[in-house]
């Protein structure tokens, strides 16, 4: 249960979420760049 987390675990959760979203958007940008490069190569 999330409600049973200790304060330090809440802190870890908040920062982990921040890192995950940053990494996720970075991965999306890499994917988008590869997709566009591939599309250009096919033209």
């Amino acid at each position: 249960m999330l409600a049973d987390l200790t304060p330090n675990q809440w802190v870890a959760l908040a920062w982990a979420e921040l890192f995950l979203v940053y990494a996720g958007y970075f991965a999306y940008l890499r994917w988008l760049a590869r997709k566009k490069a591939k599309a250009e190569g096919e033209e």
Binding site: L2, A3, L5, P7, N8, W10, V11, L13, A14, W15, E17, L18, V21, Y22, Y25, F26, L29, L32, A33, R34, K36, A37, A39, E40
Partner: protein, 246 residues
């Protein structure tokens, strides 16, 4: 008119400054995390939970910046009609979506152990939820409209509506009763109600979030401009009329 379509930039050829900016983001994020989790003293009321504030407040500020900049480029697009302005508006709108999602989820994680609830429908939080819904709507509208000029114009108007909501969102904690804490840093000059050691850590993390925002937007604009015709920047789309020939 030059009929040759050339790539302005290629995703493969990332400029050196952008790579260096990315590295600076990594170093800054590592240092900001260290300052927030290790160096910052615990708060007299919130204890260790104050360390969530550095993650939450920094992304919330940058979310406002991203929306304002997206609105700026949207306005320019409506005025000049340059495709490049639309690309910049979209890049900032994506960043605004990322940072607003972080603001809401981070705020919920912060709120549960400190205020004993994840969410409440007061003015501040409701306005933030509406802002996120409008930004999501911005991308849904863009996906539904094929014609580029109309797509750019309609989505630009939506972004300007989001921008109009910003001042209300910023001042909602003062104007209405809310669970959201009052501001510790008042831009009206009435002072800072935060320990200097905490303020330094917060400002550093705001700067890091801003640096990461700059990296994301720069990279997204670079990808967005890829394959844009070289003359597109100067050509305002005058008409969307389709003329049948022959």
């Amino acid at each position: 008119m030059n009929s040759t379509v050339t790539s302005q930039t290629r995703p493969q050829s990332r400029p050196l400054w952008l790579t260096l900016l990315g590295l600076a983001c990594l170093v800054g994020l590592a240092l900001g995390t260290y300052l927030a989790l290790v160096v910052s003293p615990p708060d007299v009321n919130q204890g260790e939970l104050i360390r969530i504030m550095y993650a939450h407040v920094s992304v919330a500020w940058i979310c406002f910046v991203a929306v304002a900049v997206a609105g700026f480029w949207s306005l320019l697009y409506l005025w000049r009609g340059r495709e490049r302005d639309d690309v910049r508006a979209v890049a900032n709108a994506e960043a605004a979506l990322v940072y607003s999602a972080l603001t809401i989820t981070g705020g919920m994680i912060y709120s549960k152990p400190t205020l004993n609830t994840y969410w409440t429908w007061d003015a501040k939080l409701t306005l933030t939820a509406i802002m996120v819904a409008l930004i999501v709507g911005y991308f849904i509208v863009r996906a539904l409209i094929d014609e580029p000029t109309r797509r750019g114009r309609v989505s630009a108007v939506i972004m300007l509506i989001v921008v109009v909501s910003l001042p209300f969102n910023y001042l909602a904690a003062e104007w209405f009763r809310t669970l959201h804490p009052q501001k510790s840093i008042n831009l009206d000059g009435s002072g800072v109600t935060m320990d200097p050691s905490m303020l330094r850590v917060l400002l550093f993390n705001v700067a890091v979030a801003g640096l990461i925002y700059l990296y994301f937007v720069s990279e997204r604009v670079r990808i967005g401009l890829f394959k844009l015709p070289s003359g597109a920047e100067e050509q305002a789309p005058v008409s969307t009329e389709v003329v049948r020939v022959g």
